[in-house]
Symmetry: C2
Subunit: 267 residues, 2 copies
DNA sequence: CTTGACCCTCACGTCGCGTGAGGCCGGAGA
DNA sequence: TCTCCGGCCTCACGCGACGTGAGGGTCAAG
């Protein structure tokens, strides 16, 4: 009985089942000469002998260490190769990959937090950075209102990489702008004047630390500042009537750039 | 000055320097339509506008999370995609990969230990498994003598996956064989007899738990048992003269298989 | 004689670029 | 004006370890 399974060799399927590797992998290892069957049937079927199985088993063992096929070939065929050394090198690589993945995971956690909370600072940090008039509920409320917009995404992406120091700079820029706007209104700067237009540009630049803002979006924002009680309260807290004056200088600037502020949309 | 850098776009090299990505990556992202420049010069140079830079920056951010380019495309272009969900899925994948790598690292540590110490058991475990006649220095001495042979490699590979239970089974098989050999010698079993040959085969099978043993290697091993004081002491401790008798039954069996025991080599 | 499970050999696809090859473009110095 | 050098362009193959068909032979059983 020369073709009883096991008497002179196992077929790819049988080896595959025994060693838990795919048939294709066996073909591949045969192709590249890493582990070839010593026998073939007349029909060309691969037959793996007991000795072949030995080698295959060693291949499987070293493959599980993450060694590349060339490395495995070296370990199996080159008696001068330093196997424990190769294993230790492999171990170091694995440790490094774990490190990288852990850093990546931490970065992901930060981004997830930024998307969900809008800000990575604790309530105390927020008050310390943005001042006592800051309400720590605002980020969560902003997320509920705008969380499904592209701009929220962009804002979250930026927030992920900002700590207290960066936020302090943003807050300083914003309060500086508020002061400049109030002073200009006090000084009687007229909408459409070069000075007013410069302030509008400055607002766009400062605001870009949250997300990129087009002129049209800025127009919508100006109207929102005026209409939304919370925003209006903020600007009127700087100077009475500032929200309205700001809308007027934005509208005038938009008109100067060929935009009709009454039909402008957010998109 | 329509071609001042920055006025209407940056070239690939400038973008590459700013964002810390390779020029080839920019080409690639252009090819697959992930992030294309809005402009080209007459000569075909890519020119990235401020808006293009925005998009590129977002690509870079999400690429750092390990998201695939198709995933990034979805995040950037499909407003219905659940970004925090995608990030959390990515986070879970990362955690799983860390897990796998940590298991892989543990496996590597075991293999390294097996190669270096020859045995993963503590001295106490060794004595518990192999009995009071066992000397815990033996594995280290064996490594010094045979550590550069293929057989040591195979032995170490097997050792890496053996705990006390498996070693107990091996030890039992060995002591059972020793007893059977001693009994047979006592009973006057003759070298070359079927019973002696069966014992030789049994020895090869038992020994295969250390590493695969050919008949020729077995012949050499028989001579070593007789010549090496330590091995001889062990077998003579079972029965006086057992080492010599064992060599004789191995020789006889080898001759029956067409091997000249006096010229057989380990290879 | 057919069926269905198993085997064979191509040969392309994967993923995100790296790495040339071969050649055009643009600003600066001789 | 010529030349030089650095930067840009478009192919197009390579990588690593197979996955996944396509198209077709083989083998034991009914």
């Amino acid at each position: 009985m020369p073709d009883t399974p096991g008497s002179d060799g196992l077929t790819v399927g049988q080896v595959s089942a025994r060693l838990g590797v795919t048939v294709r992998a066996l073909h591949h290892w045969d192709e590249i000469g890493l582990a070839r069957p010593s026998l073939r049937t007349a029909a060309g079927y691969r037959l793996y002998t007991a000795g072949d199985l030995e080698r295959l088993h060693r291949v499987v063992v070293y493959r599980e260490t993450g060694l590349g096929l060339d490395g495995i070939r070296a370990v199996l065929d080159d008696p001068t190769v330093d196997v424990p050394g190769a294993l230790r090198a492999q171990r170091a690589q694995v440790a490094e990959r774990i490190d990288r993945l852990q850093r990546l995971g931490a970065g992901l956690d930060r981004m997830i937090d930024a998307h969900e909370r809008g800000l990575l600072l604790t309530a105390e940090q927020q008050v310390a950075v943005f001042g006592p008039r800051w309400n720590p509920d605002w980020p969560a409320r902003a997320r509920r209102r705008y969380g499904d917009t592209t701009q929220w995404l962009q804002y979250a992406e930026r927030s992920a990489s900002r700590g207290p120091g960066e936020w302090r700079a943003v807050a300083d820029a914003v309060t500086g702008l508020d002061r400049a706007l109030g002073d200009a209104m006090d000084a009687g700067v007229a909408p459409g004047s070069p000075e007013a237009n410069r302030l509008v540009e400055r607002h766009r630049e400062v605001f870009a630390s949250y997300f990129p803002l087009t002129r049209r979006m800025q127009v919508c924002l100006g109207r929102m500042y005026e209409a939304d009680p919370e925003f209006a309260a903020h600007y009127d807290g700087v100077r009475t009537g500032l929200a309205t004056w700001f809308r007027r200088i934005v509208d005038a600037s938009a008109r100067a750039h060929g935009i009709d502020p009454d039909t402008a949309t957010w998109q």
